[in-house]
Amino acid sequence: MEMADKTSGKLQQEGEELPFSTPEGYFDMLNVKINSRIRQTEAEETRSRHSGRTVQLAWMSGIAATLIGFIVVLPLFFDEKEQALPAQEEIAEVLHQEIYDLDSYDLEFALLDREVDTDLEMTSYEDEVIQYLLEEDIELEMIVNEL
């Protein structure tokens, strides 16, 4: 039944062969062309991801600088004892008020990975803050989780 309506009348006479051809050897070279296009696409995507990452890192640098600034300034509002060691809750509270939508991985990456090509330029003062965070075992992951 299905075949009955497949071809009928005038159309049946035309045959089902295709009147097209391809350049000589086209199919022989096709695998190489396609594999090469895949490599090219992947390379472009990697480049694009890297460039996106640089923009993201630049943005994260700003956030990180703000974060560091707050961590440094915060102790000035407390007495000497507190100034030496701000409580984790206080840090978390400031972060909660001032910074939203942070990704812990990016934050750690921006602060700690000094080898990465980024706009993040740390002062020695900021280095001290990071050192302090590390020595006090204040994990950035924990800070971000508080947000």
Binding site: D5, T7, L11, Q13, E16, L18, P19, F20, L30
Partner: protein, 186 residues
């Protein structure tokens, strides 16, 4: 004794693709098995070799990216057809946007250039048949090609296009009538 390349089922090839270190090997076997079939599916729809070549390559780039997530709920070749069809439709859409052409004019362009295409080898009757097919709306053209030339089952076309079998039968019937009318007109 190892299994020979030709003995691999599509299912085997998909599994092989997901095995560590076998990805490229399996992909090239799939490519070898389906490249011509998908090429001709696209060529019937896009008419020109260069356009077909471009869309075919893009189709297999998508296959490479998507094969890992392919679940054997549908057959591999209907999945390939679906990707190729979507790529072809998207190609025509972007061509229309690029040249600010209305829906019918891309087909009109194809129609006009068909007879001067160096890779068109048909006689006058075949040229007329191709022109008749190009008069059809896009989806109807796809249905007609897959049924008439590729002899796919309605159930398979339904998987590719996401159209019910009933609609496909009606669509094919209308397409045949239109083409026959075109062919009998002088």
């Amino acid at each position: 004794m190892g299994i020979s390349e030709k003995e691999y089922t599509d299912f085997d090839l998909v599994n092989l693709f997901n095995e560590p270190g076998k990805k490229e090997y399996a992909f090239n076997l799939i490519l070898e098995r389906y490249k011509e079939r998908i090429y001709w599916h696209l060529r019937k729809f896009l008419i020109h070799h260069d356009d077909t070549d471009d869309v075919l390559q893009e189709t297999f780039v998508k296959v490479w990216k998507g094969l890992e997530g392919f679940r054997a709920e549908s057959k591999l070749y209907t999945w390939l057809y679906r990707i190729a069809t979507n790529e072809a439709l998207s190609f025509l859409r972007s061509k229309r946007r690029r040249f600010l052409l209305p829906l019918v004019d891309v087909e009109q362009q194809l129609l006009e250039s068909l007879s001067s295409d160096p890779f068109f080898e048909g006689d006058a009757l075949q040229l007329k048949l191709q022109k008749a097919i190009l008069q059809l709306p896009e989806k109807q053209r796809l249905v007609f090609n897959m049924k008439y030339f590729d002899d796919l089952k309605y159930e398979e076309i339904s998987e590719v296009l996401g159209i019910t079998v009933g609609s496909l039968k009606a669509s094919y019937h209308h397409a045949v009538k239109k083409i026959e009318k075109y062919l009998t007109e002088d």
